[in-house]
């Protein structure tokens, strides 16, 4: 019962935050609301007993992303552009409503939360639950799966992060030649 109350409250706050983000034009406030949105999601994950995911969401979603978006905003403007006069919202609105309806229709087939017969619970999960402590001696099952059973996947994830770092370095980092820096001098604020 208490779970339902907490879930409804959190989801209501998520929806309110999302609507507020859409309606605002001050990008600074929007970035702060994104942080709040991430914290609310993290709270949802805690309610669902996914402490590791909640931890990551709070650290990455609310922490690092907010800082990176603020850093990006410092390079651009802190207000949205005014919408052009002939802007009609009807086509985007129709696309969003149809997509949203399809997604809601899709959720009808998703098994209930915590359903024992759900596909996610009936393949390898029982093996992990029974054997992970015997196989690895690690009490945190998430760590055992992440680092040992699925070590290959995690290696891939680390390489993805590494690649992202290299890409940012290539695009933004490094020392630029003086001429390039001078050419860019005036345009930095209006592109």
């Amino acid at each position: 019962m208490i779970d339902v109350v907490i879930n409804v409250t959190l989801l209501a706050f998520l929806a309110i935050t999302a609507v507020a983000i859409v309606r605002m034009t001050n990008l600074f406030a929007i970035i702060m609301l994104y942080g709040i949105f991430s914290f609310l999601s993290a709270a949802m994950f805690v309610v669902m007993d996914a402490a590791d995911v909640a931890f990551t969401e709070a650290a990455v979603g609310a922490g690092i992303s907010t800082v990176l978006m603020l850093a990006t905003m410092a390079l651009t403007k802190d207000h949205e552009e005014k919408r052009p006069a002939g802007h009609r919202p009807w086509l985007p609105l129709a696309v969003v409503i149809v997509t949203g309806a399809a997604l809601v229709y899709g959720t009808m087939d998703i098994p209930a939360f915590g359903d024992v017969d759900a596909p996610a619970q009936s393949h390898v999960a029982p093996y992990y639950i029974e054997k992970s402590i015997v196989d690895t001696g690690v009490p945190n099952m998430v760590t055992a799966v992440l680092a040992s059973y699925r070590g290959f996947d995690t290696l891939g994830e680390v390489v993805v992060i590494f690649t992202a770092g290299i890409a940012v370095l290539l695009l933004l980092g490094g020392r630029r030649r003086k001429t390039a820096a001078e050419n860019r001098g005036g345009e930095g604020n209006d592109t």
């Binding site: 650290a59 690092i64 760590t143 992060i161 590494f162 695009l171």
Partner: protein, 139 residues
């Protein structure tokens, strides 16, 4: 923000605690929630806080960009290296059991090293990205 006394004092107190918590999350990940990903992000948050309060130049003296690039590669190398080590010792790639005398000890060692690699790479890459963005505003 370099002239704001309150921010300087508070962040100087907080940064060691944040680093301590990051190390706890890193090495306690086997037993509680957490692990390399979270620890790396928390550790980089400590340096980002330092950057926000004391400025980018001071932060780059603490964490030279070149060191960060080496660290980012080192983490991936450590992870891949554990895999190669298990290959050399006669197991499958990333099968930590062969690393030590018993299965539990081998798995423990392997998971510890691999998580350390993840943590180092995530920490370094987050700071590389942050410094790259913050560095553009400096000029």
């Amino acid at each position: 923000m370099t002239h704001n006394l309150v921010l300087r004092v508070v962040s100087k107190t907080l940064i060691p605690l944040i680093i301590m918590f990051a190390l706890y999350v890193q090495f306690h990940g086997d037993f509680g929630p957490g692990g390399g990903f979270q620890a790396g992000v928390i550790m980089s948050a400590a340096i980002i806080l330092y950057t926000l309060v004391f400025g980018l130049d001071a932060a780059e003296r603490v964490m030279p960009p070149m060191a960060l690039r080496i660290l980012a590669s080192l983490g991936v190398l450590l992870y891949g290296g554990v895999g190669v080590a298990t290959l050399v010792m006669g197991g499958n790639y990333l099968n930590y059991t062969v690393l030590a005398s018993t299965q539990i000890a081998g798995q423990h060692l392997g998971i510890l090293l691999v998580e350390l690699g993840v943590g180092i790479t995530v920490f370094a890459v987050m700071l590389i990205i942050f410094f790259a963005f913050a560095g553009r505003g400096r000029r």
